[in-house]
Amino acid sequence: MRTVLRRLCWMPVTLLGIAFVTFLLLDVVPSDRAVLELQQGQRIHGEAQVAALRALRIRYGLIDAETGEPRPVLARFGSWCARAATFDLAPPGETAERFRFRFVQALATSALLGVLALIVALGLGVMLGAWWGARAARPSGRIVGGLALALSALPEFLVATLLLLFLGGGVGPAVLPAVGLQSPGADALSGPARLADLLAHLALPVATLALVPTVTVARFVAEGLGRALEAEFAHAMRGLGCDEHAVRRRALRHALSPVWTLLGVLVPSLLTGTVVVEQVFSIQGFGRLTLDGVLRRDVATTMASTLSVAVLVLFGLLVSDVLHRLADPRVELERR
C-alpha cells in the first residue's frame, strides 16, 4: 500500500520529466511548424515570405512579438506548463473546449478499438490456449500453434493489408467494409442498423489489433496448462479417479493466473498502439492525431498525446506490478 502511494507521488515528477524531454526533442528538430506550414501553403517569396513566417512564429509563440528575438526553450516550456496547469492543452488558434472535444473523441475512438481488441484477445486467447495446451504434443496442436505464432510474428501493417486484401474487397467480394468507422449516410439509419454498421466497420481493425495479444495470451495459457497438467495435484486427482475433463478444468484455473499480470502490459499497449491500424483503415483516432502532431511539429498536440500515453503506461505498470504481487506474494515491489 505504501509502495503504491509512493509511486503515485512520483508520477507527477516523472510526467514533468517526460514533458520536458519531449519539448526539448521537438525543439531540436530543425524545421519548426511555421516553416512547414509555409511550405505547404501557397508559394510566396521575398518580403512577403519573411513577414508570413514571422507572423506564424509569433502565433505559435516561437518568437517574441515585440523584440522579434526567438524565445528561449525554458520560457516556452514555462508558458506551456502554465497553460497545462489549467488543463488548456490546445494549440494556438484553437479554443481549449474545441481541442478537448477533438482530443477526447480521438481518444475514445482508439479506446473503443483497444477495449474491443482486449476483450477479443482475452476470450479467444483463453479458449485457444486451453485447446492448444491440451494438444501441445499432437500434430493438430503443433500446426495451429505454429500458424498462430507465425501470423503474430508479422508486422501489423502487413496483417492489416492482407485482411483488407482478402476480406475488404482487394481480391474477390468485399465481405467487410474497409474504410473509416461509418458508411456514408449512416447517420440516417435507425439505431440497430447503425450499430451493425459500426460493428462491421470495427471487425477488421479489431482483428488486426487483437492478433498479437490473442496469441500471447494463448501461449501463456497453453504453457501454464501444460505445467499444471503435470503438477502433483493433477496426478492426485487422476489417482482419485477424476476424469481428464475435470482435471483439465482445475488445471485451467491455475494456468489463468499469469494472464492477469499480463493485462497491465496489454492495456496500455492496446490503447496506444493503434497508430498503424488507424493509418491503414483510415480511422481518425488517437494514433493518427499523435502522428500528425509529430509530423507537423505541432508542439501542443504532441505534448498532450505524449502525456496521456505516459499516464496510461504509468498506471498500467503500477496495476501490473500490484496484480503480480497479489498473484504471487513472494514478489517484492521494491527493495527494502
Binding site: L25, V28, A153, F157, V276, T306, L314, R335
Partner: protein, 320 residues
Amino acid sequence: MRRALVTLALVASAAPFLANDRPLVARIDGVWSFPCLVTDAPAPEGQTWRDAWRALPAQGGEDWIVMPPWPYGPHEICAAALAAPSRAHPLGVDDVGRDVLARLLHGARTALEVGLGVSLLAGCLGVLLGAFAGLGGRVADTLVVRAIELFTCFPGLLAVLAVATLVGGSTTTIVVVLGAVAWTAFARIVRGELLSLRERPYVVAARDLGSGPIQLLVRHVAPTLRGPVLATAAFVAAEAILVEATLTFLGLGAGLGTVSWGALLDQGRAHAAEGAWHLWLFPGLAVAGTVLALHSSGRSRGARSVSRGRTAGTRPLPSR
C-alpha cells in the same frame, strides 16, 4: 533454432558476395580485378558484367570471370516492373524492376544490423544501469527506476522523427534511437535478478566464505544473469526488426537507398491489390521466420532464468 539464426547471420554478412551484379574475380586481357570489392572497376566496354560472363564460354580464350552464386544486384533494374516469379527471377521482381531474391539477401544484412545493433547497444546500456541499480545504494536504485519509468513512457516515434530530421534517416539512426529506448528491458531484468540473487543462499555462502565483490559478480552472479540477458536480447532483436518495418511504413524509415525487409514489405503492401503476391509473401516469410526463431531461442533461454514471468511476452519497444 540457434543454428538457423547463425546461418542467417552468415548469409546476411556475406550478402554482397552472394547476390551481386558484379563479379567476385575477373581476369580480362591478363588484368586481374575484384569488381565486387572495388566498386569503380569498369565493366567490359559496352556490356554489363553479367552479359560478358555469359558470353565468355562462346568466345573461348584466356579471359575468365567468377560471378557470385546469384548474379543480380539489389539496386540493379533487370526486368519489367512487378513481374511474377519466373525461372530467371524465382522470387519475382519489385515495382521498379529489381530482383526480389537479391534484395531479400541484402535486406537480411539490414535486419542483422538492426537486430544485433539494437540489442547490443540496449544490452550494454541496460546491463550497466541495471547492475548500478541492483548493486548500488538506494539513491542509485531510485534514480535508475525513475529513468526506466521515464523511458518506458517515452514516445519512440517522436525520438525517431527528431533524430531522423536532425541527422537524416538511416539504419544507424534507427539503431541508435531504438537502442536508446529499449535499454529499459535489460535494466529491469538485470536489476530484478540482482535483487533476488543477492539473497540466494549460495551467494550469501560465497560472500561469507570470503569472496570479494568482483569475484562474487564474475564467478557467481554473471553466469546466472547470462540466460535472462540473452533471452531479452533475442526478444529485443525480434522487436527491432518489426519496428524497423513499421517505421518504413509510417514514412520514418531509413530512406530509399536502404535495402531492407521492411521496405520490401511496404512495397508489397502498396502493390498487394495489383496481384503482386510475391512482393509481400517472401519478405513476410523472411520476417516471420526470423522473428519466430529469435522468439523461440529467447524462450528456451528465458525458461532457465531465475525469476520467470518477466522475460516472456514483454514488448520492449513501443510503436510497433
